[in-house]
């Protein structure tokens, strides 16, 4: 069943939903990356909640004009208009008043959504028989998706993607360093607004599939996931888009494969699964990598401290240090150093003395800055330099009685 869903053989509606969700995930992942790098991820929450009054007003206007009221394009235009108003209000609150952006986001989100709910109850009492579809915009409803709806979503997603590609360079510049962008003469405020406009477009396009409460997830989770895998911004955009598209496709297929699996939440959960895997397993920034890095560091510290203790004839009590030394064949089971251990210990002590001279010497200032207690001195000085230092230390000397 799942395989059939993945290969788009579960019928017309499932195929439409899968294609639409993939495109939506792709464009949301790409657009969201800029938002995330600009550190304004939650702005999308305000934008998405601000679509609700527009949907309701568009519905009422269309009914008042004698139409059917459920025309998707009309509803989407309405939602875009009210999201734009919400966005402008939010910008105004942040720029012209003392409110911080988070308070402005929360205020716009709750007030617009509250007003939308008021309008929803008005519509419920209007006595129009076919209004039931509007609640579907809260959480998305893919059950009755039409060919025309799918076309709107596909076209909207593709257009957003094209626009992002067109203005990706200035957006990236603003995301990383707005002051520098302003100094270069870029209109930062306008680029920010364009970025938000694109986010709004994605939100509007996604209303039908994932709904206005969960579209935020598609804008935030894939970029965060992508950030784990690379340090290059263009690759974050690419991976974010791929993760979003894949989550959309897999989520739509999963939800088609069994009853009672709503599309929107499933897409979000698949997306989160990608995030969780990345958080744990990503090569450099992942948790597992960090744990391994820490363990390696710990072993090196214990090894070095153990060797220094051996060289100075001190007894070692630390169990981890003892275990490490024993495993490397440097001490015997009773803690007495082997010949190899004695040699390594002497070398460690000598290196420590070398470092001491290097750090005391102004001429080696740049090298001394590299000292962290673990670095082998051979990796930072040439053989000649080490010989020069050894001459200053001098060889072993007899004790004059």
């Amino acid at each position: 069943m799942l395989w059939e869903a993945l290969t788009l053989q579960l019928g017309y509606n499932a195929t439409l939903v899968a294609i639409g969700a993939t495109l939506l995930g792709l464009s949301a992942g790409v657009t969201g990356t800029f938002l995330f790098l600009r550190k304004r991820a939650l702005v999308s929450d305000a934008i998405s909640h601000a679509t609700l009054p527009g949907v309701c007003i568009a519905f009422m206007v269309m009914v008042a004009l004698g139409g059917e009221g459920r025309n998707l394009i009309g509803l989407l235009i309405g939602s875009a208009l009210s999201a734009w108003v919400g966005l402008l209000c939010m910008n105004w609150l942040t720029r012209r008043t003392r409110l911080a952006e988070d308070a402005a986001i929360g205020a716009i989100l709750s007030v617009f959504f509250g007003f939308g709910v008021v309008l929803l109850t008005v519509i419920q009492t209007m006595g129009v028989g076919r209004q039931a579809g509007l609640e579907g915009f809260l959480l998305g409803s893919t059950a009755g998706m039409l060919w025309a709806d799918a076309m709107v979503i596909a076209f909207g997603g593709a257009a957003t993607l094209a626009l992002v590609m067109l203005i990706r360079r200035p957006m990236m510049l603003v995301a990383f360093d707005p002051e520098y962008a302003a100094a270069r003469g870029l209109p930062v405020a306008r680029i920010d607004l364009a970025m938000m406009g694109l986010v709004m477009a994605v939100t509007v396009v996604g209303l039908k599939i994932v709904g206005l409460i969960l579209i935020v997830a598609l804008l935030i989770i894939p970029p965060v996931t992508a950030r784990f895998w690379t340090e290059r911004s263009d690759r974050v955009v690419l991976i974010g888009g791929l993760a979003g598209g894949l989550a959309g496709y897999l989520g739509a297929a999963l939800s088609a494969s069994a009853p009672n699996l709503p599309t929107g939440p499933i897409i979000v959960l698949v997306s989160f699964a990608f995030f969780a895997v990345s958080l744990l397993l990503a090569p450099v920034r992942g948790v597992l990598a960090a744990v391994l890095r820490h363990a390696r560091f710990q072993r090196r510290v214990h090894m070095r401290q153990g060797l220094l203790a051996l060289a100075q004839g001190q007894t070692i009590y630390e169990p981890l240090t003892l275990r490490l030394l024993r495993r490397a064949g440097l001490v015997r089971a009773d803690g007495v150093p082997t010949d190899k251990g004695k040699a390594r210990a002497a070398k460690a002590l000598r290196d420590e003395k070398r470092w001491e001279l290097v750090r005391a010497d102004q001429a080696h200032e740049a090298t001394a800055a590299l000292y962290d207690g673990l670095r082998d001195i051979e990796t930072v000085l040439t053989r000649d330099q080490i010989e020069e230092i050894d001459r200053r230390i001098g060889g072993p000397q007899g004790v004059t009685a």
Binding site: A41, T97, G106, S110, V111, V287
Partner: protein, 309 residues
């Protein structure tokens, strides 16, 4: 409208609305000043999975399991946000976005998977609440306020919400000085021995308690709106924290009363037949108050700060 009708139909929802608004607005003041306003947003989203899990575990719609489930979900969300932020080195906003959307999606999925058709548990209810339905059937007039038999029939939400409000007021009053100092100057607070991390956690917990209790009665929208709008509007009115808190309480009460009245009677004045959502209207009114404060408030701009921050 006669007193008889008012007491039985409107008094309790009105009081519950006011209590909920005040209980949320008080911690909201500190959250807004600490730039943590969206914690309220996150908490009110994760309440849904909390109550669904509580329902699955107990198999019934009872108040206490649901409150516990919601509170548990709120705590879990705070822990998850913090660990995602630290483990993944992600900025707080994005970490919050990852966690609360996922938990909300999980809640919706669980809700769809279980058979809740026999009970009244759905997403819309979680969002809008049902303030209008909290009527006091046993009341016959103002005299019922002194009648123990009628008082026993009060909706359980009323005493619960009143209790929550008292707890929140007590918390704010008892920890006023440390809260104030650590909100404005965390470094100084730490040097004089205030445990700022613990205090911050307690503030979030208090917000969660207010959110969970209010959510049960009035839905998530009011919770978010009351956390942010009255304190934000109050911030435009004054530079002193004491006055800001007073203003925010006044604004919260004003939006609750005007919102409830407009939702109940506004449509009738306009010639329509039915009332509109009170929760939505209260949120809308708080937004209008905020807009007025932002346009005309005496302290609306950042004094001494550059125009663009």
């Amino acid at each position: 409208m006669s007193g008889e009708e008012f007491v039985s139909l409107s008094l309790t929802p009105l009081l519950i609305g006011i209590f909920a608004a005040v209980a949320c607005a008080l911690p909201g003041n500190f959250l807004v000043l600490r730039k943590q306003a969206l914690i309220g947003d996150a908490i009110s989203h994760v309440v849904l999975p909390g109550i669904v899990v509580a329902f699955l575990l107990t198999g019934m719609i009872a108040t206490w399991p649901m409150m516990l489930g919601a509170a548990g979900a709120a705590i879990l969300a705070v822990i998850l946000i913090e660990s995602v932020r630290r483990l993944g080195r992600i900025e707080p906003g994005a970490a919050m976005g990852v966690v609360f959307t996922t938990m909300f999606a999980g809640g919706v999925l669980l809700l769809e998977q279980t058979d809740t058709s026999t009970v009244h548990l759905d997403v819309e209810h979680a969002l809008y609440g049902n303030l209008e339905s909290l009527i006091w059937l046993d009341a016959t007039g103002w005299a019922s306020l002194l009648d123990p038999q009628a008082l026993a029939g009060l909706p359980a939400e009323l005493p619960r919400m009143a209790l929550t409000m008292c707890v929140v007021i007590l918390f704010t009053w008892a920890l006023w000085r440390p809260l104030k100092i650590s909100t404005f100057d965390e470094g100084y607070a730490r040097t004089i021995g205030i445990r700022t991390n613990l205090l911050g956690l307690m503030l979030v917990m208090m917000a969660a308690i207010a959110a969970v209790a209010a959510f049960d009665a009035v839905g998530s929208i009011i919770v978010i709106a009351m956390f942010i709008c009255p304190p934000a509007a109050a911030r435009m009115m004054t530079n002193r924290l004491e006055r800001q808190v007073a203003w925010s309480v006044a604004f919260a009460v004003a939006s609750a009363v005007s919102g409830y009245v407009l939702a109940g009677y506004g449509p009738l004045w306009l010639g329509a037949q039915d009332a509109v959502s009170a929760a939505g209207m209260i949120a809308t009114m708080s937004g209008i108050i905020l807009a007025l404060a932002a346009l005309f408030g005496p302290c609306r701009t950042r004094t001494g700060a550059p125009g663009q921050a």
